[in-house]
Symmetry: D2
Subunit: 306 residues, 4 copies
């Protein structure tokens, strides 16, 4: 089978999604996110051999937000291996990504590492290894994205910190169930910094190379074992886009992770990483044009893990 | 109908409940409460004319805890009247007194002022009137109990503050829904002080005179209107003992309010206030011997509002 | 204290509620109920000595629907005493009157006898005593209302039967938890007949005399013990109007039971039974004008159990 | 990469899982299932070219139960295409496979076609095409399994019918929300027959060939489009094993579907169908030895879709 003409597909996608750009709703709970125009669109596809196809604003950096939870989990698995599952589960949440009721019903054990409660617990594990655990993650991301200038956007982190009342409630509930070792404010600060990572589609496509390549990063280092990579991909597929996991699996058929900044990352193991960015969100919180873009991609290039 | 021989009834009750004293479980989440022996038992009944009948350790002070929520509500109604209901409901909770899931489902509007979330909102209202709002309540309680030495137990308050993670989670969730005006830590501090009120059965029986007497306190001042008193009693009956409200109404038939310190207050409008204390709790968190004591009282004295 | 001029109060109420008549929504899930005009209004108040005050269409019969659940419970308590509580609780439901989720969470034990699941279990108990158990209730109602012509409206019962899918689901769920002994269709048939009872305000005021009079019916027979009456009143207060129990207790302050046909019954123990009918319902399913009528009554006649 | 020695792997698996056989609990809610010994074990793996590897009792027929829901969905998609999603969703349930509470919260729209509520709706769609819709499915299964003797086990179906109170409650709740067109008892009868399908591991491995082969069945006919196959596999991965979907994705990494009879089917698209049977179940209702067998298979043969 010949390689699809990815560049042409990306250009077609960019044209097709134009009408959707105005229909999404930009996240407005903090000023730095609210300031983005819904008209932005960028997309990259990077194959295993390093070839990168891009369209639109693929080099414009944006706030990757929850996409960073995958880096968070990867770093924790490096440090703790399978024992991360002593403190959280890996089942789909079947509901809101920031529900306190679910966390309460399940006695402080988050359903998976992709909901906020789970990511806070994962960050807490990392903080048990280093006081400034978020720097361990930043260091890794800079390396695997081959881009040392990648950084936290402290203005975004600060804005999240000021308005993050629900995450604060979640953290105190975790504390109630003794599932948070470090001080609540320290965990929140590290978590909000993590989510403030500012990266472009191209940088993300490089950084997530290891999930398509059995654990080896774009710069040739082993970030995770082959087994770990399969498992992270499985978690992305079942839990990566909150209450749309089933719909994404059905329509796109790839492991994906989205962020409220409008970014989405998708992995076709053994072949490529695709990344897309458009700030307008669907009512369920995933990039509207981005979701459609990935659906067109997998349909046009007849790619799917299934 | 002749007046029942209350003194005899109280003595009988004290004898009958002895076997129950060892069966309850003393609250142990903070050291000052955990330190109390389950063998304590005291009871008072104070009729409208001021006659007081007592048995056991009716003059021993204990931590009144959630019983103070009634003072809290009364003080807020003095300050704000019916507008307190703009920020909370008055329906039975049908569940745990400290549920975050319920608060979340109902978008930050507490179901009633007797669950923790509701009491925090009520305290927040009072703090909008005075920076040290809890002192407004203390002042009132000292007056209506005719006992100026009544005070907060700051060691209890401090212990609650250190371990009150779930209340902290509730407060932040209220903040998420913009239903808390003052800083979370200030509201919690005031709330924990309120709950730390240390009073005896006799002092409580005097202090709650106004709920049996149409709003007039034992020292002859108007604490609430007749209408307000009826409404506070109605809230106690439907919401005063958490998820045992129906069972208390069925077995005891009086408006009651319990606290985790083992105290319970019951009102027979137009006739008396009965108070009881025994630290051993039932699995649902109400004083085991105290509940039985009130059941015997209303059965023996054939009293009920129904 | 002189007796209030009840006749005058009733006339005033009738005038005051006129504007509300058009604002309620008539139950329309079955044709026989949907056919009633929202403009109907009738009210009766019957004191312990048998004096009856009436206004409006107080002699017009209507479908009493859930009000009949009180007769159902009374009859079962006659047959089984306190052992009725082996199969159901008496706590406020804190939610919808016909929730399957709650019944499932609580493993098939209905929260109280005033929600549909609870009433089905109560009827099932009665059917264990007589194949046509609903006739045992009818017989009792005819006697205590001093009106032998009171009857089931089989057209209403039939219409309920045809459309009662949710009650059917509830019954099968009870069966799942082995909390229904008789065949589902038999229990449903008896239950729908029970709810189809057609009575007027005056007839209801007579029939419920026993709840104001310590268990003695208008025709001088003992329907329940004094203890049982207190307990039935307690259940009405905490559970009689579904998710408005707290609000009714607060605003009206009497044990009440409502029906979807627009009727409401209220008890002031030792003094009177008040009944009201107006088919237009509030969004929570209680008669809009009827609720307001009772609120005016207890406010004007300064009556309350609290 | 050379083909793994599947026969050797299967033999190894059979040895390794022996100690687990006694630890599972055989489903005992109907006699025909309760009668099976937990010591049974069979497994088959059939590659795309038709080569079949087997071990243990791979030719012994068992009750495939919920595995049949995949045939059900496939048949409905043949008849109705994407419009099946007008009446049900495809999100993980995040909870029990037979929850009424969830169905109620989501207003009668089942979360996916793999929970009982969803399968009933799918069967109802098929019944809209043929009065004896279950025969349409049987006909297809006989063809794609190349085994005309495959049949319903009417004794099992009858036993389910007699005890299926919870499914009956679900069906009536669907009816309440107008999401069931045919008579409840007809839908249930057809559904229980569907679940009573009696097949062996080898027969299942042949029958599900189409899910590994882009929609073409073992006998060379097109059962589904390539797109449909991807989507069915996606649904199996996210919803196929109830509340263990995340754990299965993590540990096994293949689309799977289990049944309470102890069978599990797993698909590696483009390569093989693996089937396993052992009646002892885990507390979550999936075959204990069967789950472990698939985990060993994918680990030993380093296969995964991720």
């Amino acid at each position: 089978m010949s390689t699809p003409d990815y560049q042409q597909i990306l250009e077609d996608i960019r044209n097709e999604v134009q009408p959707l750009l105005k229909k999404g709703k930009v996240a407005d709970y903090i000023p730095p996110l609210a300031g983005r125009s819904p008209l932005h669109f960028g997309m990259s596809l990077r194959t295993l051999d390093g070839t990168t196809y891009s369209t639109g604003e693929a080099r414009e950096r944006f706030s990757i937000q929850s996409i960073a939870k995958v880096f968070n989990l990867t770093r924790a698995m490096q440090l703790e291996g399978d024992s991360v599952w002593r403190r959280l589960n890996r089942e789909p949440s079947g509901g809101a990504f920031n529900s306190l009721g679910q966390l309460e019903r399940e006695s402080g054990i988050p359903r998976n590492p992709m909901i906020n409660a789970g990511a806070l617990v994962v960050m807490d594990m990392i903080l048990n290894h280093a006081e400034w655990g978020e720097d361990l993650i930043l260091e890794m991301v800079r390396r695997i994205s081959c881009e040392p200038s990648v950084d936290y956007d402290l203005m975004v982190a600060e804005a999240e910190h000021e308005t993050g009342h629900r995450n604060r409630a979640i953290a105190w509930l975790l504390k109630t169930y003794r599932n948070l070792d470090n001080p609540v404010e320290r965990v929140l600060q590290a978590y909000f910094r993590l989510c403030s990572l500012s990266m472009s589609c191209e940088e993300l496509a490089t950084a997530f190379h290891y999930l398509a390549a059995g654990g080896v990063s774009a710069d040739g280092q082993t970030v995770a074992t082959g087994e770990q990579v399969k498992r992270i991909n499985a978690i992305m597929l079942t839990c990566g886009v909150y209450d749309e996991a089933g719909d994404f699996a059905y329509r796109i058929g790839l492991p994906t992770k989205s962020g409220v900044g409008g970014g989405i990352v998708a992995i076709l193991p053994g072949q490529y990483v695709a990344t897309v960015w458009s700030p307008g969100l669907s009512p369920k919180g995933n990039s509207l044009a981005g979701t459609r873009a990935l659906e067109i991609l997998t349909s046009r290039a007849t790619a799917s893990i299934f």
